[in-house]
């Protein structure tokens, strides 16, 4: 009997409801972390505001143009801290503890389980702020994205998320090879700052690399530019190709690494 999309859909929502129940169980916790997340977001935005007290452009981007990018960055951050960082943390933790066996013996795709098992809802406010900031900045700019631009921007965002997930999975899969590396899941959170600014601040080779083979520079810049009405087909092509390569590499590396999985002796 093959698993249908319907089965995966059911499992996905079952996990979401489990975490909703857990959030409700620990609601004080939820409020506290929602406040902390919001605080960080406002702190970040505040920093950009201070920068623009002393300049009119950063990397050639005006204040409101940058806020579009910052809004998108905040949205990405909300997803990273709600979903990816937890999934990857439990993934590496389970590899080290031997509990990964629980996942491997289930008749459902392991990578699907890894990514969908966990999430929290603490970053919902952060996501809302991100969306709000993006829309507000576009209003300030008087920019009205066409339906096509909107679709392309969403496509860019989707590709960005897939690229991030694939790369992060690769990095975390190193847990199969390294005896102990608690902060392996800190690598991506540090890298994400690269796309908290427009790609144009980076120069020469670094700029080239970050807008092509390692498209960290494109994650927020591309959808922001698209929303501003500047379509760059080359950038899109690079993001698409890099994402495909990342996904294929991640799948192969993961499969290869499972073979190394020894679990804990007892």
């Amino acid at each position: 009997m093959k698993y249908t999309l319907n089965s995966y859909w059911k499992v996905f929502w079952k996990f979401r409801s489990i975490h909703a129940m857990r959030t409700f169980e620990y609601r004080k916790n939820f409020f506290f972390w929602a406040v902390v997340a919001t605080m960080w977001t406002l702190f970040n935005i505040f920093f950009y505001k201070i920068l623009y007290q002393h300049t009119t452009t950063v990397g050639g981007w005006g204040e409101y143009q940058l806020y579009t990018l910052v809004g998108l960055y905040t949205m990405f951050d909300a997803i990273i801290w709600s979903v990816l960082s937890h999934s990857m943390k439990y993934y590496t933790r389970d590899i080290y503890s031997g509990e990964f066996s629980n996942l491997l013996t289930k008749p459902i795709n392991t990578v699907f389980l890894i990514f969908t098992r966990y999430n929290n809802y603490n970053n919902l406010p952060r996501f809302v702020i991100g969306v709000g900031l993006t829309i507000w900045s576009l209003l300030q700019l008087g920019a009205a994205p066409t339906p096509l631009s909107l679709m392309l921007a969403l496509l860019a965002i989707g590709l960005g998320l897939i690229w991030i997930s694939a790369v992060w999975l690769c990095i975390s899969t190193l847990a199969f090879y390294v005896e102990k590396l608690d902060n392996i899941n800190e690598v991506f959170p540090a890298l994400r700052r690269i796309y908290s600014y427009p790609a144009s601040i980076y120069t020469n080779t670094l700029h080239l690399v970050l807008t092509t083979v390692i498209p960290l520079g494109l994650i927020t810049t591309l959808p922001a530019e698209t929303l501003h009405g500047h379509l760059s087909l080359t950038s899109f092509a690079w993001l698409l190709v890099s994402t495909l390569i990342a996904v294929v590499s991640a799948a192969l590396f993961f499969r290869f690494s499972i073979k190394r999985y020894a679990g804990v002796a007892n």
């Binding site: 201070i50 300049t55 102990k180 690598v187 600014y197 601040i201 120069t203």
Partner: protein, 265 residues
Amino acid sequence: MKKYLYRIKLSIMISFWHRSELLLWLFLDAIPIVIMFFVWQSIYSTKEMIESISLPEMLQYYLLVLVITNITGSHFESFRVEQIRMGKIDFFLLKPFGFLAEIFWTHIGGKLLYLVLALPFLAALIYLLSQYFPVSMINAPLAVWLVFGALLLFGFLVEYLLGLIIVLLGFWFEGSEGLEHFKWISISLFSGAMIPIALLPEWLQSASYALPLQYMYGVPINILLDGAVSSDISLLPPVFFICFLILLVTLLWRKAVHTYASSGG
């Protein structure tokens, strides 16, 4: 004395076992600073000076922020609060060493090893960056360096004591390690770590100049960049602040030992 040396040795060994993590932290912590370099370089493309700070000085400022963060930073809060929550500190309460001493010596041992790895790394990074960016040189007499060293010690103690307070609050509050975030944001905002205090909005500047946190980053960096200790800098506020924090820690610890129920969980 032997007891303390042994504790340090043990914690160095444990830290060494986690050396790959330490190396990774070094690399990861450097990324935001490198990004800042690019940001400021792009901002200074349209002007020479911002609040009388030139680009080379601004870049040197952020390098010093990185160095100070590496020397003074503390990350033990989450781990220790979890130990309390799980009721795992019985062991330390029974031994003549005590929980606070355990935290202190582990922190020192870990920090020493970290610096052995960090200093060469930072030197290499600074060299590399100065090849691509116009970083200003530091030209300061020994006396200024000594004051800088004293303020580094101050920064180290503040981070450590604040961390300790957060850990001790873990005896009463679940999730007190979340207070780490408030600590970081406060220090970033008021100490000059995020941006030179002179660039902050007026109201925030006044607050920063009134608080002792500026002695962690803003003041030490400025005396090195200026090459001199200005007359309006006094070491009294930092000393008082440390005394205040030590008092707070002592009070909290006494209360905590009373409250602690070894069932934990």
